[in-house]
């Protein structure tokens, strides 16, 4: 049977560490070891984006992470009530490619968050509805729920 835990922080960079700690703690108890690092990374990237882009770095707002453990799949949902991502933005993300050594401009300083999320998780979807934005991600687990 599915089990869920919801984690909630204020939109402040220092609070993201608490989320990451909590997520890793849950993961260590219930996920196969190989799945922990990508799940944690995807969650941190998604929450960073909420704090930076949806809330424009403004503290005092809520960032909520839902961790839903099904027998062979983990569902992660990151929710905010900030400014939604532009339609099509997620779909437009290109795969991560090596920068061209001949062209220094191809080495971007930033802009890797969404691509990292996409490569860590099997499915990634975004929905803005009734003032709530949800990034839904899922990942098939290596060997079922139990360790």
């Amino acid at each position: 049977m599915t089990r869920t835990i919801v984690l909630d922080i204020e939109s402040r960079p220092e609070c993201i560490e608490l989320l990451s700690g909590a997520l890793c703690g849950v993961c260590h108890l219930v996920l196969p070891a190989v799945d922990i690092a990508p799940v944690n990374l995807a969650m941190v990237e998604a929450v960073n984006n909420v704090v930076e882009h949806a809330y424009h770095g403004e503290s005092g707002h809520s960032v909520r992470v839902e961790f839903e453990l099904a027998p062979n799949r983990l569902h992660l949902r990151v929710r905010d009530r900030g400014e939604p991502m532009a339609p099509g933005r997620l779909e437009a993300v290109a795969a991560l490619v090596a920068p061209d050594p001949e062209d220094p401009d191809s080495l971007r300083t930033r802009g890797r968050g969404l691509a990292i999320i996409k490569s860590c998780m099997d499915t990634v979807n975004y929905e803005a509805r009734d003032g709530v934005n949800t990034l839904s991600m899922s990942r098939a687990l290596a060997t079922g729920e139990a360790i």
Binding site: E17, L96, L107, A115
Partner: protein, 111 residues
């Protein structure tokens, strides 16, 4: 996140320890860029004690790398933990950064 800095014959050596994430990035970026600015653009970054890094941490590495290159230098990453190594490989940046396992080789590379 703790940063310690020493200089060996014109090469800056910085060890980072903790999580290189969005909460620490502004301070760490500023310190590293100041070190590049005041030095020769040759920097060794010890990352063995960095247990976790996100893309904002990567953006620091890229900024510092670019600043070093502008001064004709380079940066070398040392002692990547498995988590940090996977992040760098996932983002294909192992083809950009010089990555070594021991300091002697890193120093030789930068001399």
């Amino acid at each position: 996140m703790i940063l310690t800095h020493r200089n060996v014959e014109g090469i800056d050596i910085v060890a980072l320890s903790g999580r290189l994430v969005i909460a620490d990035v502004p301070r760490i970026r500023q310190k590293l860029l100041a070190i590049i600015e005041q030095g020769n653009g040759k920097l060794i970054l010890h990352l063995a004690e960095v247990g976790f890094m996100d893309s904002s941490g990567l953006s620091v590495l890229v900024s510092v790398f670019k600043a070093a290159r502008v001064r004709g230098g380079d940066i070398v990453l040392l002692g990547l933990s498995p988590t940090v190594r996977s992040l760098i490989e996932l983002t294909r940046l192992q083809q950009v950064f010089s990555i070594f396992d021991d300091e002697a080789a890193a120093l030789a590379h930068l001399r």
